[in-house]
Amino acid sequence: MRLAITGYTATSALGCGVEFIQSSIAGNHSGLRRNDFSGCDLETWIGRVNAVEATNLPSHLEHLDSRNNRLTWLGLQQDGFLNRVYATIDRIGVDRIGVVMATSTSSIGRTEEAYAHLDDSGLLPAKYCQPKVHNLHSPGIFVAEVTGLTGPSLTISTACSSSAKVFATAARWINHGFVDAVLVGGIDSLCLSILYGFNSLELLSTSPCRPFDTLRDGISIGEAAGFALLVRKDLAPEAEFDLLGYGESSDAYHMSHPHPEGKGAVLAMEQSLKRADLPASSIEYINLHGTASKANDLVESYALSQLFSTQTLASSTKGWTGHTLGAAGILETVITLEAMKHGLLPGTLNCEQPDAEFKFPILTENTHKPINIAMMNSFGFGGNNASLILGRSND
């Protein structure tokens, strides 16, 4: 089921484009800062993308204005990604490329703003009457408008697994044959719903998040936009990396707590191995969901211990970027691809003393090692799990 990954990019609190991922990881520079998000006075740390505030949409896209779409616009400009998309359109055709985006909260930040500016009769004023923005498909609509893509398009919203699942949908679409390529991506931006919502669940840390640390006490919310171009293998012999497998599952346990034995997580990882036709021993690095919540990290380490030898290197990169929710899958896929490209595996920033309760050792320090095959995990509310396997094309 191999699919070629012919281009990718990510913009997060680390900066715009992949070069900042590499430099921040190598230098152990976190993108997290004390919460300074406009209108929010919660004591927590956030992964804000600095450049969003100064980003304006071009006039022909102004009717789509929202923080989420500004972040999407900013993200699409990086790493020559749009040019890669245009070149693929020239080769494959504008109607043979699907658009599969992901988000948890879409443009709800704009909807929050609109509700604060209702007119005297309690309705949306003209400026905020944006049917293409105040909905869950806003990322898909925006990306299709920017790129001119006219094929099938949808937005997946399964909380924090959303932008891992875009790869599964894209693979099915390409294998079924009604498209030859799919532009996949995930975008989530900071908004009050998310900050006050996670605060209500008492899941926010008051310090920078510490994935897998004994003293971890919650997550840091981040924002990000990431994209990848998946192409039918025979149409992209030049690609450096491939999607080798994917797995999707449900916990069937609780809306906001993971299954205590990591049943869904294990199923998703097992299925991704099965689709890739690989034994667990072939996985050289795993980018973990590792949110730094008490429950997730404990359960994820237990799930790993059921499948992998303790020699397998595994880390969480959320100490650098924060938890970017619906964008986490694509951001961490891009981080994993960059790790493979440069032979530098990220450690787990802010993890000083791994929890003794863990059944699986966590990679805490950055490690230079060339690898060919890696896994990426994303788990979300509603017990929604997804796992991807990525590899070098020539392997």
Partner: protein
């Protein structure tokens, strides 16, 4: 074109609480006025707290699954709605206008688009994959495509849901939906279930088309509702006269401004058993 079966249908709105009621409405013009939403799968003490989006989805998923008497453990789900739970969006946006911004934790975790399939997987103990999507005005047809492709590519039965709630006042200009509606179709590979309601072939075509019209009785309540777009398909299955003609019914549902989903539907002759 790929062949699939429709093994079960679940449907709910204030005008038809289930499939027999929908068939009765189509064939006899007998519609309910204010049908209750009481999904048996949600214990009565929890029903008051469960958000409407979850109650609607769980009700139609359960109906479709029960019609085929199929174990949900091996059935994947694809939930679709353009706007998600608009009552929760409305609640969050109102409470966040000014301090103290005390958000209900339950409403917050129910605000995720996949709360519907999450609740389903928890109550029916299924570890099968679940997804939740939106394609705004094209949500219903894109969910049908997404589910049908998943059946074909993964050889798994898939329950797809097309749903939209009534819009709260502020969001009505974004989504002109007056009445809630939810539709579930249980799609399987041909022959998996011995007595499917219908079989169909589907394919994607480059073509710009309009949505097929709704049954005249359903136009007024559901014309502006993105969740109603597949009703012509199930109207054909419900209709006694179309079941007797035996000729394939061809449908074209837009997927985007320039693509459409072709469905060639063949209704099974044993349809009468489902009209009791």
């Amino acid at each position: 074109m790929t062949d699939l079966d429709i093994a079960g249908i679940g449907i709910w709105s204030p005008f038809f609480p289930d499939w027999p009621a929908f068939c009765d409405g189509i064939n006899s013009g007998n519609w309910h006025e204010n049908a209750p939403l009481q999904p048996g799968l949600i214990p009565s003490r929890e029903r008051r707290r469960a958000p409407q989006s979850v109650k609607m989805a769980v009700e139609v998923l359960d109906q479709a699954c029960n019609m085929a008497s199929m174990d949900p453990a091996g059935i994947a789900t694809v939930f679709s709605s353009a706007m998600g739970d608009m009552q929760i969006t409305d609640y969050l946006c109102k409470i966040l206008v000014e301090p103290p911004r005390l958000v209900s934790p339950t409403r917050f975790h129910n605000s995720v688009h996949n709360a519907t399939t999450g609740y389903w997987s928890i109550t029916r103990h299924t570890h099968a994959p679940t997804s939740a999507i939106s394609a705004m005005g094209y949500s219903a047809s894109m969910a049908m495509l997404e589910a049908a492709v998943q059946v074909a590519e993964e050889d798994t039965p898939v329950l797809m849901v097309s749903q939209e709630m009534a819009a709260p006042e502020v969001l009505r200009i974004i989504c002109p939906s007056d009445y809630p509606i939810s539709l579930a179709l249980l799609l399987t590979r041909p022959g998996l279930f011995p007595h499917p309601l219908a079989s169909f072939q589907f394919g994607v075509q480059r073509k710009s088309i309009d949505w097929p019209g709704l049954h005249p009785d359903l136009e007024e309540p559901f014309n502006g509702n993105f969740g109603s777009r597949l009703l012509p398909l199930v109207t054909a299955i419900a209709s006694v006269s179309s079941a007797q003609t035996n000729a394939p019914n061809r449908f074209e549902f837009p997927l985007s401004k320039s693509a459409c989903l072709n469905i060639s539907l063949k209704i099974r002759e044993n349809i009468e058993v489902h009209h009791e």
